[in-house]
Amino acid sequence: MASRPEYAITNRRQGEQPLRSDLQRPGGPANLADILERVLDKGIVIAGDIQINLLDIELLTIKLRLLVASVERAQEMGINWWESDPSLTSKANELEEENRDLRDRLDRLERIAGLPAPEEGEEVIFEETHHEEVVEDSDGEREETVTESRREEVVEAKDAGSRKRSPSSSGRGGSGGGSRKRKKASSG
């Protein structure tokens, strides 16, 4: 199902649940997942004097999304980010690596304005978009502004038919979520 997350629940233990809280509000405390998805991921973000590394929070948020699981479950998955630097864990490394790869590739594509060498089994098509806006002043003068002009790289992988689109004009380097499924869904 498209709307289901990839981190399908496989282990539904009903016994001890260390982080579990009761669901009902008001009255009882709210469930931790409900709170965390809000206070970490939502709400207005303003830079304070104490600089929280936003990457920290982002990594944390991504991990919480991937996990949103108990410590035990996380350990089963080989993730122990609460014990050590998040960037040292295997999962984070994987995501980072994937991120870096994508970024490198974007950089390369940007540098070489011409046709980049596609990887084996991949086909690269360029799609150009060009937006123009015509504004007419009160005194009748017309002003043309090109607000956006970019080319998009569409990589068509032969194997799974997956389609990745990365606008080379913006820095959408993937938020580290790194799931191919999501990228596939985001085209268009």
Binding site: S3, R20, A33, R38, V39, I44, I52, A69
Partner: protein, 341 residues
């Protein structure tokens, strides 16, 4: 001669004594060593049991916070301003009798030109840059702080429209909080105007294990497979399984759409959030929908009635519709600041 004999006899007697008692002595020593070891082990076990038992006790935040911090009692603490959210001045947004993220410091208002920041003091030794980096990765600390943040905003919500800020927005002093209010005033004013009289609610649809399977169309005549060859039967079984899975996915989506569509009809704005993992949320079964809705307070009754109606429709199917809230409008402010920038 006789003397030598008696010496020999004495030695023999001593030997015999030694032999006779050596065993006993070793046994005694062993017993005593065992006892000592047992008692040491018992102490260690007691300590371990106590530690573990403590972890299972309901969390009492202040006590837990104290042990976490190990504050030096000498010397003044360096304090910073932690800001929870922003409201219109004069709406009495600062809750009384609510602890801040640091239990020792209650929330207060920082007012500036018609806006108030709901703030409280926090020690830099816990909320400083390096410390935050570590603490944010400490699940227990994170839970405690997130809950405290939410509790303050919850309380504020009772009497005011609040724009919630993300966890751990911290300023050096009151002056810096005022500057922030000054700079961001247009964003806050826009958001507050838009959110006035509206409340965030969450609605989830959770199917009991097996509910979707039961509700999807029943399997066709299994008898037919008897006539097929083993290979063909196997292939047919495989494709049936795949069909059944597709059918279940379709049904899950259908159910989620039905609930979301009808809730959204009573809301000013509606959004879908990623489904939660059962182990943190504590639900049993499959979460099919995690929707959030910004509802005009005037529409709260019809909104709630719709939740009840949907509950009634889904209960026989083995699925539950869960309502949470009221929440500070976390899910409906992000866009506003992005739009403003």
């Amino acid at each position: 001669m006789a003397e030598r004999e008696s010496t020999e006899a004495l030695r023999q007697a001593l030997d015999a004594f030694g032999q006779e008692f050596a065993e006993g002595v070793v046994a005694d020593a062993r017993r005593e060593a065992l006892e000592r070891a047992t008692s040491i082990l018992a102490d260690e076990m007691t300590r371990s049991l106590l530690d573990n038992a403590r972890a299972h006790l309901p969390a009492s935040p202040p006590a837990r916070a104290k042990t976490k911090r190990s504050r030096p009692s000498d010397g003044p603490q360096e304090l910073a301003h932690y800001v929870y959210g922003v409201a219109w001045a004069g709406e009495d947004a600062v809750p009384a009798d609510t602890a801040g993220v640091d239990p020792d410091h209650a929330p207060f208002a920082v007012e500036h030109e018609g806006l108030v920041a709901i703030a409280s003091l926090v020690p830099l030794e816990e909320f400083g840059e390096e410390e935050l980096h570590e603490n944010l990765n400490d699940v227990a600390w994170l839970e405690q702080t997130a809950r405290a943040h939410e509790t303050v905003l919850d309380a504020a919500l009772a009497s005011a429209t609040v724009v919630p800020l993300r966890l751990c927005t911290i300023y050096r002093g009151e002056e810096q909080v005022r500057e922030m209010l000054e700079h961001e005033a247009p964003v806050f004013e826009d958001a507050l105007a838009r959110l006035q009289g509206k409340t965030e609610w969450g609605v989830k649809l959770i199917a009991q294990p097996g509910a979707l399977e039961r509700a999807s169309s029943p399997k066709e005549n299994a008898a037919q497979s008897g006539e097929l060859s083993a290979g063909a039967a196997y292939m047919r079984g495989k494709s049936r399984q795949a069909e059944a899975r597709d059918e279940i996915d379709r049904l899950a989506e259908q159910w989620a759409d039905r609930v979301h569509g009808r809730m959204a009809a009573h809301a000013a704005e509606a959004l879908l959030n990623p489904l939660q993992n059962a182990e943190v949320s504590g639900h049993v079964g499959d979460m099919l929908l995690n929707g959030v809705y910004l509802v005009d307070d005037a529409d709260e009754d019809p909104f709630r009635s719709e939740v009840d109606a949907l509950s009634g429709e889904f209960a026989p199917l083995g699925a539950a519709v869960e309502l949470t809230g009221p929440w500070p409008p976390y899910n409906f402010v992000k866009g506003s600041i992005e739009a403003a920038r």
